[in-house]
Amino acid sequence: MNALVLIPGQVGLRYASVALESGAVSSVAFRGRAASLPDLQTALAARSSHPAIDVVSMRALYGGQDFTAPAVLDTANENRLLGLLRQAPLAVAQTRALAEQARSAFPKIPITLAFETSFFVNLPARETTYALPCDSGIAARRWGYHGLFHEAALDHLAAMAAGGERPARVLSICLDTRPEIAAVYRRTPLLVTSGSTPVEGLPGEHSCGDIDPAIPLALASDPTVGPERTNIMLTQESGFFGLLGRPATLAEVLTSKRARMNKVRELLLYRMLLAAGSALAALEGLDAIVFSGRYAQQAAPVAEYLVPRLEQTLDLDPGTLPWQICPASLTTIVAEAGVTALLGRRAPEP
């Protein structure tokens, strides 16, 4: 079975053609980046040959309470998606627009959606609730926005246990453009750093992460700034970009030897340490750490910083707290999720 994977982003569309056998990825035929789906169609048409597509698997950022697992985009699910528009206008509109284009481009091929929020549907109320007045008109709750990576990371840990005892209390660290940490107990998330949007939490390549709520209020009230400009500042001009005054990837922040980068790295690692400490309190201990995400292979500096400090807190001997890297890419995760949805199989339960 061949899946065409579509991963929409802030700047364009990542795509890949993935071959799967028995629901698992066997090879990636090609991958690339396009400005939009019509551009992708043009690119596909220009290829002399490419495998026949059996399913279009899309990554969707937000699925609300309705989507607890990957889903086939049928009429019922389309209506459910429409119902979520008010909750997350930008994310849902992006998903719907891309789905519409995909249906138009591939009218006879089933389309599936893999939601980043599904993993966090059952996050406890004590974690999801903001202390706002009941009549504030805001029905926001906390979500995580890297649920696909976290689930893949847990699958990886389960696979690595290979019949042995699987770690129950897991610190899952997704190293991506907007990094995210989740505390997970037996595949149930108890805590996550992101908030009602991915802006809250750890600082990212362009987003500010946790800040005092008085700061956006001060900026939005400033007549020289205003709410819209504030939003742009916090989501596009902050994070590593804001601190450095130039774009920098998470990988660069974690590995660069430049002095200016040290300050940014220290800030990020400190924030990660705070989140890891919260996770220890939530989980009442810790059995394993797993890294995932686009920059998972750059996890070593994070592990070197976090692991000794967590071991010290937990009274563990140095080097005894296990940590692993999940090598799965978002492309393969979304491809597998699409096939799971299509064939009606749930993700393998550890």
Binding site: A131, L243, R309
Partner: protein, 401 residues
């Protein structure tokens, strides 16, 4: 040296006269209904040398209230103040330590007024009145933010555009520093640990504001409050941590009125916002969760946020000597202490259920004998802390009597 400590609220003036360095309280009281005329007249509740009296009078401003308090004290030669210590909430970037007031300091204090618009302006007006009416009395200002001036860059900075943060002074300042410092000093004495070596997590849980502080070598490493007191824990009427996007959505719904939203997040959110009926955790923690899910959920949200910060700071302080609970809720509500520390044996924290439930006097150690981290309940005393700081400042300046 008799130091009168003033803690200035928007419509009140609390005071204590403390004999230093013995830290003996000689007099105390509170002037209520200071400011514009209200339905009831202003009143000073005054306690001195074992006697208690109430004085009804109009106090249209803090200067009038101050003068009335001074007259009450000056009736007895044993109560005549020799120095004044003022509490000021926010010292901003200009004041990293407490100061003896002179003309230069007085002028510079005006520059940090707006950082705490509810608390700083009345304190500054009081300071002005004191300087005018008692120009020869030495005065100090003790800042809540000063203890946190040791917070390092990684904890202090926000990941905002560098120039924007600099231009607006967006950084973590931290609050409740006077209380955190005081209980850290008391904890060091209680445990027999030199203050300069003390590692602790201090939980200042007031009936209004609340914050946690990570302390290492007797100094503040981090505080859950930030640029303003709004960040951090869920409080009685403050929201605490919030997604920046929510703050902006609220501003959009209020047609750009950021001040209205700031007021809502400071005065109508937190426990009050969640329950709609009570801003006090004491009303919720005893509520029957089965009969009222909203109250039980509010209590859980409040406790969970404390627990998360506690976990963070237990790691940051690297095997702390103790967790300290202080202020109204921290000192008096065993259920809160239990809920936020239970099940943390893996982190070296084990609370003794019986000791926690039966605290008879403070300070008290509530941990089991096996607990690596001691769990202390210590009564805070910000006035003593201010008197200490004032006395030490004036002694260094060569001005004790």
């Amino acid at each position: 040296m008799r130091v009168v400590v003033f803690n200035c609220g928007s419509s009140s003036l609390k005071y204590r006269l403390i004999d230093m360095p013995g830290e003996t309280e000689l007099a105390a009281g509170e002037a209520e209904r200071v400011g514009p005329k209200t339905a009831l007249p202003g009143c000073i509740h005054h306690t001195a040398l074992g006697g208690q009296e109430d004085h009804t009078l109009a106090m249209p401003d803090h200067g009038t209230a101050f003068l009335a308090v001074m007259k009450l004290l000056e009736r007895d030669a044993r109560l005549v103040p020799e120095a004044i210590g003022h509490r000021m909430v926010h010292g901003g970037p200009l004041f990293k330590d407490h100061v003896v007031v002179d003309e230069t300091v007085f002028q510079r204090l005006h520059e940090v007024q707006d950082l705490a618009p509810i608390h700083n302006p009345p304190a500054l007006r009081l300071l002005g009145a004191c300087r005018q009416l008692y120009p020869n009395l030495p005065e100090t200002v003790v800042f809540d933010t000063a203890f946190h001036s040791t917070i390092g860059a990684a904890a202090r900075e926000y990941a905002l555009p560098y120039r924007l943060a600099r231009a607006h002074g967006f950084r973590k300042y931290g609050f409740h520093g006077t209380s955190h410092q005081y209980v850290a000093e008391e904890a060091a004495k209680f445990l027999g640990v030199p203050l300069g070596e003390l590692r602790a997590v201090s939980c200042h849980l007031g009936s209004g504001g609340a914050s946690l502080c990570a302390i290492s070598n007797g100094r503040s490493l981090d505080n859950s409050m930030g640029y303003s007191p709004l960040q951090g824990l869920v409080m009685s009427t403050r929201s605490g941590d919030l997604d920046p996007s929510i703050a902006l959505s609220l501003v959009a719904r209020a047609a750009g009125d950021g001040r209205a939203i700031e007021s809502m997040l400071n005065r109508k959110s937190g426990l009050l916002g969640l329950t709609g009926i009570s801003a006090d955790i004491r009303d919720l923690i005893t509520a029957d969760g089965a009969s009222d899910n909203a109250l039980a959920r509010a209590a859980q949200v409040y406790l969970w946020r404390i627990r998360k910060y506690l976990g963070s700071y237990l790691v940051v302080t690297r095997r702390p000597h103790c967790i300290i609970f202080t202020d109204t809720i921290g000192e008096k509500i065993p259920a809160v202490r239990w809920a936020v520390t239970a099940g943390l044996a893996a982190l070296g924290v084990a609370i003794d259920v019986r000791k926690n439930a039966e605290v008879k006097s403070l300070p008290a150690d509530l941990a089991t004998p096996a607990s690596r981290v001691r769990i202390l309940a210590i009564a805070t005393n910000e006035e003593i802390a201010i008197a200490r700081a004032s006395y030490n400042l004036l002694r260094r300046a060569g001005r004790p009597s």
